[in-house]
Structures are given as structure tokens and as C-alpha cells.
Amino acid sequence: MKVPAAGAVMSGQSFATLSGRQGRIGELLGAGGQGEVYHVVVDGLPFALKWYHQHYTEIDTGLRLRLERGVRRGAPTTDFLWPLDLVEVPGNSSFGYIMPLRKSDFRGIRDLISPPPHRLELTLASRIILCQQLAHSFFELHAAGFCYQDINFGNIFVNPDTARILICDNDNVNIDGADASIYGTRKFMAPEVVRRESLPNSRTDLFSMAVLFFYSIFGWHPLDGRRENDISVLNPELEMSLYGTNPIFLFDPDTDENGPVDGVHDWIVARWQSLPHTLRQLFIRSFTVGLHDPSLRVLETEWMNILNLIPGSIHICHDCSFEHVISIELKKPTAPSECLCCGEAPEYSPILLLGSRIIVLNIGQEIRAEHLDSADDATTIMAKVESHPTRANLIGLRNLTNAPWRVSLPEGTSHIVPSGQAVRIAPGTTIEFGKSIGTISDVNMLEPTS
């Protein structure tokens, strides 16, 4: 006969939450080191209940206080599966908390590095959008005076179709600067935490977040280069050196000591070269000076400023599907003159330049209010790239706002594009969309440097 662990609860059991809601325990969703997670129905609605092993509640003495504070303060954003209410069961000395239920269309982003066929394949745009949302959510958490303490792969889930994310395991969240209950997860901890010189705080969170971003975009760890490749058996001393006492970035511009190895890291090098130098600069800061000086780590707002520009500016190689970001170099929209992956000569579509933002004008591409500095809701569609109804070789940008645009054409004439009409996309055209002015341009091709 199986004896239930001390403090365990059973499916079918009824309970009342601390704020007085009525619930019933349903099926077991999964179990981990700290406890079990059940499907529950509370006041007629489905939620998840995390129920702790009694021995865990005895070790982690700050747990209850953290959860109560979390419930009181509320979720920083809707991306967090945040504690909503605490649960106790009569005659049971353990406790648990209610959180939103994660639907089955979400997948753990650890699968970004799983071997095929389980690997989670995401487009570069989705990966960037994933990072943007993480930056936004962790910013709200930090700005409220909290830190997460254990940012890692295992706690982040993504819906592959929409790129929406969920942040789980919020029971370690604590006031920034308070004594932490954990150190964190291997390969995500800041070097000073690996060396046990510091407990997690908002600045170590920033380091873990930068690792998460690098992993999400490259499917690879930023400190794994030649040195890790040369190790046949990783032991604790070597691990301490790689991630704690002597960490070196794979793309450290000042040393090749841990640089990429030909034939091993080629794809990662190609992706690195395909990214705008503004983004590379943030990674370089994170994993050079930011390894040693926590105050120099990249803040969420800095990531967001750069990440926001990327999703609309991606060119996909017609031959091998490798994704290249068109970026502004020397004031011109620029991209490599040969595919960084297959070497074929690319055919770049014209782009629309809006300040420092580049939008590739492929058929179907939409331009939203957020791109135009418009007062409308950020996601309102203001324009769309379409082909000409009868002349297949022409593409145009349709005005989906209710105000006319003024355009000046490369031939020097100016015209009005009334609401609902489209204007031919030709380099040299300038379009005045209310407050913002956009210029249609060709992409300047630059020979890739290694």
C-alpha cells in the first residue's frame, strides 16, 4: 500500500482559500522537488494549485511570508502565473497557493535546445518578441521593488503560434535585497553567485536574463566557447572556472581565448553576424564588463529599446531560409551582400525607414500605430503592403488610416494618398504619415567581415 507523503492532499478533496473562496482538488498535473501541482476548480473556474511537501515548508521558512506578500501586491504583468490566494486544508499542516492554469498550448523554452524532433523551432522574430516580453515583465517586477532570484529556462513557457510567454514558479520572488532562499540554476547564475559571494538580487537577475536572451536567440550559452569545447569531462572545478571565477564571452572583442571554434560554432557565428551591432553591443556589455561589475549590466529598458526595432526588419534568405536583420550602419539601412549561411546573393525588398526603425516591405507586412508615433492603440494597423490588382510586378502600401498621406515621389512630384488607397513602393519615395515621416529605400549591401 502506498503511503501518502506527510502533508499530501488528495484529488476530490474540498478546500477553502484564505480569502474564503471555495474549491475542489482535481487531477495531479505534475510533481517536483518542492511539491505537487493540481488542477483545481475555485468558485467554478479552473486554476492550478501548488501544494508543498511538508518538509519543504519546514526548510524554506520565508516561503509563507513571500507568498502572502505576493498575493497582496498582485502580479506585475499578466505574463506571471502569480500566486492569487493561499490554501490550507483542515488536519493538514502544509499549505499551497492558487495560480492561473497554464494551458497545454504552451511549451517550456528549454525545448529550444532539445535535440530534434523535440526541439522547439521558433522564427527569429518570435525569439525577439519572446525576449521583449520577458524584458517588459521583469522590468515591472523590478520596478515594484522585487527580484525573481531564479531566472532560467525551466520557468519560462511560450505559445509557439503567438509567441506569448508565461513566467512560472513565482514562489521565490522576494523584496530586492532581502536574504534569498535559493542560489539559482546552473549556467544562469551570475558569476558572483556561482562564487557564493552574493545572493540573488535584481542585478543578478539582469545577468540571468541576459543569459536567457542569448539562449533564446542563439540556442546556446554565451560563455561556452573554445574552452568548454576542449573539455571532455566537466567537473566542479572546471564549471566554477567557466561560469564563476574566469568566465569569458564567446564573442569577447578583446580576447579569442574562449572564441568560437571552426566547424563547431559556425551557425552561432553566422547568427551573431546577422544581428544589428546595437544588439551585439548589449550582449558584449552583459558578458564582458557586466560579468564583473553588476552595476554595468544591461537594464530591461535598454534591451527593449533595441529589441523593439528588430521584428519588422528581418530578411529571410530565399535559398536557405537563414534570417538576417537589416540594420542602420553609417546612417544607411544595411545588410550583407551574401547570405551569411549559404553564401547566395540576397534579393532584398525595399524597406521603409522611420527614424531609427526599418520595416521590410514584403507583401503582407503591416505597419502599426506604434511604428508611427501615433496616438492610436499601439497594435492598430495603419498600412499594409499589397500587390497591384492587375500589374503583378508592382507593390504598394495601402493607407488604412482615416487621414490622407502626403507623398513625394522620386521623380520630384508630390501627391495625396487618400484613406483606403495605395501608393507604389519605389525607393526614393517619402511618405508623411501624420507625425512621422517615412522614406522608402533600397538596402545597402556590405561585404560581411568576419
Binding site: 520596478a143 521593488g145 530586492d176 535584481s202 529598458t301 497591384h388 513625394s408 494618398v417 501608393v423
Partner: protein, 202 residues
Amino acid sequence: MQGDRIASLNYAMRTALPELRNVAADNPEVDVRMSVLRFSSTAEWQIEAPEPVENIQWTDLKAEGETHMGDALRLLAARLTPEAMPGRQLPPVLVLASDGYPTDDFESGFDAFFAADLTNSAIRLAIAIGSDADNDILGRFIRHPDLKPLKANNATDLVKYIKWATTAPVKAASSPTNSPNPLQEFAQEIDEDQPVTSDIIW
């Protein structure tokens, strides 16, 4: 202030700094400098002589019980005089970040502050820390019908106001008032009668 509030204040200031540095870098004609005054059970200058923003690193404040805002306002008032700020300057930008419950004599502090020579020409902004911050006190500091205290999570909006404050006078000085509006000029070129072929606009 304590616990999560002080952490929130520190995070807001850390986040605002890089944005401020960007403003300074984008406007090399303006020398943006910053002083920092801290108040808890006492008020004292943390950075007294104005430092270029690119040199400033935020040192985290520690939680303490008291909020001597009155002392802080008096200390600030002493700096808002033509003698203390000599030479040609853009209006100073004053940012008050607090959870808003002064524990000292803040009334006399406000009196001294608003009596100082440069207070009225200053741009006064505030950041309310914590969800239950006392916006009335911060509102008295701002004393502007349209400006509300910012929250810690939009502290970077400070930069928008500061940008406006630091660039507006410069731009106004460099563009003559009689120059034609560039958009208007553009509008006059438009020839509505000119037929547009359907392969340019459709």
C-alpha cells in the same frame, strides 16, 4: 521608506540614468549635470557639486524609517539662488522621488522652497514610490495643473520631460520665428489637378 519601496526607488533611478545619458549624448550643445540629495532621518547632499550625467552611478539607498522631506526642501532652496547657480543656465529640473509621507516639518520646508529665487523657473517633477504614495504632497511640489507624479515603472518618462526642458529653449533660440513651416512649404507643391496614373496611386 523601507523594503520593496526603497528597492523600487533604486530601480527607478538606475533605469532613468542610461536614458538621461542618452539625452546628454544626443544634445552635445547642452552640458547636462546632476546633483543628488538624499533624505531619510536626515537630509544631505549625496552628490553636491553638479556632475556630468555620464559620470554618475546610482548608489543604492538603504531603507530607513524617517522621511525628512522638509529638511530636504530647505537644503534644496539654498541651492536655488543665482549665487549658487552662476552663469548662463537652462532652467533646473528638480525631481522629487518619495513615498510621500514626510515625518518632519514639511510646511516650513515648502515655504522656504517656494521662496527661493529659481524655484519658479525650475521644472519640477515627481516620482511616487509604492501604490499608496501620497500624491497630494508630491502634487504640492510639482504645483502644475497638468503634471502628475510618475510611477516607478514609468520613471523613464522623466526623460521625456527633461528632454523637453533641455532642448526646447535651444531649439527656440536657433530657429528664427519668421522661417516658413517646412510642412506648409511641402503642401504648396501638391498639385491636386495633376493626373496620377493608376500605377503610382491606386
